[in-house]
């Protein structure tokens, strides 16, 4: 990337981010693209600063790694929306902003008279993005939900876990990130339209609806054939019209591998390559060696055939390490990957070669921290990590004095009054 390309793609635009953890990633993504995202927290700091893990395991609102991870590329101010002065300040900021992102319960901002109607009056170009578990209207709109209820009501949990045991979510919350990133897409669609027409609008994001995409097409089995896809543990269903299920996770020497007997061109190539690899170690039975993979049809395969094939493969994999498997699948152009932990993700040479990891300096912690870097590479315009997540009220002076023209004495007074 050349120096004159270093400006972010969305550099001219400002985002006011009033979200809780459900929406953090939306503002961060716009910030990654160079927009000036300002996180607005309540005085004393956002409650999400109490979400762990913490820097050196020290529970401290200024040291939440959850906060660090999802709020970098934002500046931060504090503001009390419950006070009239706070609301007046918010409207002054919103008058010049391009996006306001919020995740309060539906109706909350309206009640404070700083909702859609008020914002439209002072800034008709504004894109207002509301991110909630279920959307702004409808029978569940007032329901409260955290990650697990969102995963439940979207149907995701019904597809995850062993039959006979409770349905599962992913242990590290997923729905917040999904919702934040899809909210960014919605924000930019409204932005495109605003740039064409001069008119802003309200984007109503539902976490429940977002998670329907995470597990994509499972519901179409019901739509087309009145068949209900269910949780099947470590097995994949829905690939064969006979109802055969394929093993996905295989114990190996030091953990698990993800390998699936697939059809299609890539699947046939993979199956042949695996048999060759097994044969090289004298572990491929004759019936596998003799199989004509070009005629193998995954959509019509029966459970019996699958079981017969999987038995020698399982035996073979128990003697293979994750690293060895990864090396071989890349070399032999096979489908499949090891089940990686965060540790192994850091060890993957692909990331180092692509300069994926990025260091951000944390002067108050006297160190720099390694972050997952840009979500995309652009040939023109930068998408990079520019700044670590803000400390509580870190940019109050910069924003309120530097940009709204307040004096330091006025800011001090606001602090005393509990406005900032």
């Amino acid at each position: 990337m050349t120096a004159d390309n270093n400006e972010g793609l969305l550099a001219p635009f400002r985002v006011l981010d009033l979200t809780d953890e459900l929406g953090f990633l939306c503002g961060k993504i716009l910030g990654d693209l160079g927009a000036d995202a300002i996180k607005i927290e309540r005085p004393g700091g956002d409650p999400a600063r109490r979400i762990g893990p913490f820097f050196k395991n020290k529970s401290d609102p200024q040291k939440s790694l959850y906060w660090f991870g999802f709020n970098n590329n934002k500046r931060g101010v504090t503001l009390n929306l419950q006070s009239a002065k706070g609301r007046a300040l918010f409207l002054r900021l919103a008058a010049k902003a391009d996006f306001v992102i919020e995740s309060f319960a539906p109706g909350f901002l309206d009640k404070l008279k700083i909702g859609r109607a008020a914002l439209k009056k002072i800034n008709p170009r504004l894109v207002l993005v509301s991110i909630t578990p279920f959307g702004q209207h409808g029978p569940y709109s007032k329901f409260r939900a955290s990650d697990i209820e969102i995963m439940a009501l979207s149907g995701c949990m019904s597809l995850t876990g062993d039959p006979g045991r409770p349905p599962l979510r992913v242990t590290f919350p997923q729905s917040y990130s999904w919702t934040g990133s899809y909210a960014a897409m919605g924000s930019l669609i409204a932005h495109y339209h605003r740039q064409q027409t001069g008119r802003g609008q309200h984007v109503d994001v539902s976490a429940q609806a977002t998670m329907l995409w995470a597990f994509s097409h499972a519901h179409t089995f019901w739509d087309l054939n009145r068949h209900v896809e269910k949780r099947a543990g470590s097995f994949m269903t829905g690939r064969s019209i006979t109802g055969a299920k394929m093993r996905v996770f295989w114990p190996c020497k030091d953990g698990y591998l993800n390998f699936i007997i697939y059809g299609g061109e890539a699947g046939r190539r993979t199956n042949q390559a695996l048999v060759d690899w097994m044969d090289g170690k004298g572990m491929a039975p004759d019936f596998l060696k003799q199989k004509d993979w070009t005629r193998f049809d995954i959509a019509k395969v029966t459970q019996e055939e699958i079981d017969r094939m999987e038995e020698p493969i399982a035996r073979f994999f128990t003697g293979v390490t994750k690293a060895e498997f990864f090396k071989e699948v890349v070399k032999r152009e096979m489908l499949g990957y090891p089940v990686a932990s965060v540790k192994e993700i850091f060890e993957d040479p692909q990331h180092a070669a692509r300069d994926f990891w990025q260091e951000l300096n944390h002067p108050e912690l006297k160190c720099s921290i390694t972050y997952p870097g840009a979500f995309a590479r652009f040939t023109n315009g930068a998408c990079v990590l520019r700044r670590r997540a803000p400390l509580i009220g870190e940019h109050n002076e910069e924003v309120y004095c530097g940009e709204l023209g307040m004096t330091k004495t006025e800011l001090k007074k606001l602090k005393q009054d509990g406005v900032v």
């Binding site: 959307g135 992913v170 990133s181 994509s216 068949h227 049809d297 995309a376």
Partner: protein, 404 residues
Amino acid sequence: MKALEGIKVVEFAAFAAGPVVGKHLADHGATVVHIESKVRPDGFRTHYPPYKDNIHGLNRSGLFALCNNDKLDVTLNLKKAPVATALAKKIVVWADVVIENFSPGTMARLGLAYEELRQVKPDLIMLSSSNLGQSGPHAHHAGFGSQLSSLAGFTNLTGYPDGAPQILYGPYIDYIAVAYGAVAILAALDYRKRTGKGNHIDTAQYETGLQYLAPILLDYKINGRVAARNANRDPDAAPHGAYPCKGDDRWCAISVSSDDEWKKLRRAMGNPRWSTDKKFATHKARKANEDELDRKIGEWTRGLTPAGVMKKLQKAGVKAGVVNRMCDVYDDPQLKQRPQWVELKHPEIGNMHYQRPPFLLDQTPPGPSKRDPLLGEHNEYFFRELLGLSQMEYERLVKEGVID
């Protein structure tokens, strides 16, 4: 009016990661052309159930339908170089945006690398979405999202602590890359409007997935902790899980993240004696006795329907949600009210629930408004009307099997 009217998009793409980016743009009014060929149709058409009535057919795929509504579909056999290459370039000149998700290197082999295309369309925006990225030692390794979700750490975080990892249904990580891919295109469109410059965007599905795991990646780097799967447990809440309800394999999720919520849950359960025990009095105590707590809550939920539990608890101010099954989502009162699906008639599938975006724009309501196209359905319309080929040219290309 829809938000993205006027934007022209061409997809050299198949399966989910590329086409669903195009679907979101099409839902908002962009003109999107999905390029396939008869010799090589989209993989969802050929080997990825469900098919209507379990009968395989190129125009019977539920998954293709879900990912391709509101698009035009043409069949262009890119292997027929140089005529097909020239025609593909002509389509690129027509378009604002190219989306491709072939394995890295394929577009170059077809004579359609970004550098080539930029010669004919200097301000082109092209999204290349791949498994592991366009560069690096593993760039050429192709794969599916259902397995990349393991390399990127997700399945290791899914399952019971005593058991194997659990699958995340479908190509989970593909749809993460979809969100980022669409975001990248929209940002590039804005940038082009202001600077006149196009863009080649390289998204690795792997890297987009890792965005979702930032805190636990930091946790390993700083604290050396390797995050592990722990079923439905959460360090900041107890109870926190799915609890059995009345009915066959029916469940309701409940979570309590403060003493105040615990008080409300107890009241909603009728303050049973066990719940007043000191071993459940504080968050710390509830965490220490979580197995027993889960059993007790389960004994209470077992007598109620999942919807009954949810309504009762939500009314009491406690977070709760039915574990919807795949047969429940179309009738879920909230999704139905939004409405989350548009039912459209498809000539071979019949009535199909086409999925709306998870965000609704109040001034420019999104589609779907047209069913997914049949294979090659818009050949004549697209090549003749939109691209402006003469009837003679068109017929010649069909005869040569370039348009197949």
